[in-house]
């Protein structure tokens, strides 16, 4: 079974709020000083799913792709250290500041270029922007079904059977292959790489493809061609005040509180 896993490198979600800054004029997140970016936490779960499906099928290949800066190689290396077979980095200045639609198109072009692929696995969302739309865009571009937020995936005779996580329960769906499935944290803990595999992964070369390698022209990339222009980027200001409600008895305190809340039109 040939599987492609898409992984992304993101700013560490554990970055303390005080270190998280944006450049409002440039509309960019300023990388936090001394805090290295990490693999999007859902992506190792997608890699784990790919490795288990490959094992269950008794063979095949797991290829990892990531669109991002040079440092995104680390996200690919992580998947290789877990046991994935090959890695491709989509890296080009033309990819700077592109939006979800352009990202989806570039990933779809890479998946086509790789060719033989039964299944594409992705994280349910990336924990930086948390939109979860890129997988749908890839599905659209490739014209294949997308099953989102999986907690279990099983290969069947005709395709895949996927257990999806809903707000109020689970849903089991089947899809023909090729398909795209996004994997959720309910899938279970991804494996931690073995030192031996870390060493093997370090020796593997990650191929690098540019926009031109993917056949993407100037009109398909670049911040100027965003489908979804970024109007403004800012950290919302949260102000909090503390007021101690006085009163001689609990009842009086409650009455005073209720009056305050009503005056503030909160109740």
């Amino acid at each position: 079974m040939n599987i492609i896993v898409c992984v992304k490198q993101i700013p560490d979600p554990e970055t303390p709020a005080a270190s998280f800054k944006v450049d409002e004029a440039a509309k960019k997140v300023i990388p936090a000083q001394g805090i290295a970016p990490v693999v999007n936490p859902y992506d190792p779960q997608a890699t784990e799913a790919a490795l288990r499906l490959k094992d269950a099928a008794g063979g095949g290949k797991v290829t990892v792709i990531s669109l991002g800066p040079d440092s995104a190689r680390d996200a690919i290396k992580h998947a290789l250290a877990m046991g994935a077979d090959e890695g491709v980095l989509l890296n080009d200045p033309a990819f700077d500041d592109i939006d979800n639609f352009q990202t989806a198109n570039a990933l779809a072009a890479a998946i086509k270029k790789i060719g033989e692929c039964d299944l594409v696995l992705m994280g349910r969302a990336s924990a930086d922007w948390d939109m979860g739309v890129v997988p749908l865009g890839v599905g659209q571009a490739l014209g294949v079904p997308v099953v989102s937020v999986a907690k279990a995936i099983e290969k069947t005779a005709n395709g895949v059977k996927v257990e999806r996580v809903l707000d109020d329960g689970f849903q089991t769906v089947e899809a023909p292959l090729p398909a795209i499935v996004t994997v959720s944290n309910e899938f279970g803990e991804p494996r931690y790489p073995q030192l031996r595999q870390i060493m093997m992964a370090a020796k593997k070369t990650v191929q690098v493809w540019s926009a031109a390698d993917l056949g993407l022209g100037a009109d398909a990339t670049g911040a100027a061609n965003r489908v979804m222009p970024l109007e403004a980027l800012y950290v919302p200001k949260v102000e909090s005040n503390v007021e101690i409600i006085e009163g001689d008895s609990p009842e009086e305190k409650a009455r005073n509180l209720a009056q305050k809340l009503r005056a503030a039109k909160l109740i």
Binding site: P16, A18, G34, A36, D74, K77, H78, A81, Y192, P193, Q194, L195, R196, I198, M199, A201, A202, K203
Partner: protein, 388 residues
């Protein structure tokens, strides 16, 4: 000159950090308070094959160098695991170095794969209450009895003895007064910590409570002759072969602990507002932290150099000693400044810096004291007369 880490070294750093990151400060606070060996942490590293990082591949290890092992232990300490985490691993990582270098093939086959897989725990029994740093004056004695030795004596500070089934034990096989040189006549054994002949008594200590240190009494413990490591009578020399890598790794652990203490201090100094400004805006707070940052970076360079010399087969005694000296001096200083930066909260367990402070303090004493390092530098680097 090339300061660039290799791809593999970079990956080791990233992955060691990720795995250690699964165990947060709350985990270590709990292990420390409960005096509980960090089994879950230990097993996670054992299962992923990290314990054998510097052991040869033919015995189940990864065959990497002290550079890689130092990166691992630095990241483990810097995760907040500090010495509780580092000691749990490092006894396996470098404690068995004399076996790797001097053990018979049979002994290596019998011991190393189990140790690398984390199934076999081996403690390190050198220090004695009456000998102190003057190792040749140890009195624990192993007398020959056919094809075995019978060991009697007392060791102190043997760490992890309670969890270990074996101990790498240094004993005299010839009395000091009968030796041509006082460093002759000692033998290294890989002995069983058999409760029938061995009594272990835990020492109450300042910190690093997750890993016990003990007084260990040996009462006619039989040790098979095939468990002699290296040559009979040459134990001291076999032991000092392993001292340089040990010093480098200890230095890396002090560096990691200093790093986490300093990072906590910087974060706190940014957040904590007193007199209407973040405390880190005061130079009285900011300068010591900046000074520690520079010192830790310098210690790191000495560690890298010492490790590189060792891994490329060059003499590294001076560098390994200086790395240990600088990293433990400045690692402790960083922890102390972090504690001061936190004010009263630094004294509270909840903020963890007091734990780093307690743990990194030991590196100025063990496995060798700062004074003995200065003795070494004075004598061997400066050519001054030996002072002891």
């Amino acid at each position: 000159m090339d300061f660039e880490p290799t791809e593999a070294q970079q990956q080791i750093r990233t992955q060691a950090k990720a795995l250690a990151g699964r165990f947060d400060d709350a985990y270590w606070r709990k292990c420390d308070q409960a005096h509980e060996f960090p089994w879950e942490f230990y097993e996670a590293f054992a299962d992923a094959g990290w314990l054998g990082i510097a052991m040869p591949e033919e015995y189940g290890g990864a065959g990497l160098g002290i550079t890689e092992a130092s990166i691992l232990l630095e990241e483990v300490s810097a995760s907040g695991a500090a010495m509780n985490g580092a000691t749990a691993l490092h006894l396996t990582i470098f404690g068995l170095n004399p076996v790797v270098r001097h053990g018979t093939e049979e002994l290596k086959q019998r011991i190393l794969p189990d140790a690398a897989a984390g199934r076999l725990h081996v403690a390190f029994g050198i220090t004695e209450p009456t000998a102190g740093l003057d190792t040749p004056s140890i009195t624990t004695f192993a007398r020959r009895d056919g094809d075995r030795f019978i060991v009697s004596g007392q060791k102190v500070w043997t760490s992890k003895a309670k969890e270990s089934s074996k101990v790498l034990l240094l004993a005299r096989t010839t009395k000091i007064e009968e030796c041509a040189k006082r460093t002759d006549g000692m033998t290294l054994f890989l002995a069983d910590l058999d409760p029938k002949y061995v009594t272990i008594r835990e020492i109450e200590k300042l910190g690093r409570h997750a890993v016990d240190s003990n007084e260990v009494f040996y009462d006619d413990l039989p040790v098979d002759a095939r468990d002699v490591v290296g040559e009979v009578g040459r134990g001291f020399y076999h032991l000092i072969d392993g001292l340089n890598p040990e010093r480098i790794l200890i230095a890396a652990e002090a560096l990691g602990t200093g790093r986490v203490a300093l990072a906590k201090a910087a974060a706190y100094a940014k957040d904590r507002v007193v007199f209407g400004r973040p405390i880190g805006q005061n130079q009285g707070i900011q300068f010591p932290l900046a000074d520690s940052y520079a010192k830790l970076k310098a210690a790191e360079l000495m560690i890298r150099k010492a490790a590189w010399l060792y891994d490329t087969g060059q003499p590294c005694g001076a560098e390994a000693n200086m790395a240990k000296y600088l990293a433990s001096e400045w690692g402790f200083e960083a922890a102390d400044r972090s504690l001061q930066t936190h004010g009263g909260f630094g004294y509270a367990k909840e903020f963890d810096v007091e734990r780093y402070w307690r743990e990194v303090r030991v590196m100025r004493i063990a496995p060798v004291t700062q004074e003995m390092v200065l003795n070494f530098i004075g004598q061997h680097e400066l050519g001054l007369p030996r002072s002891y």
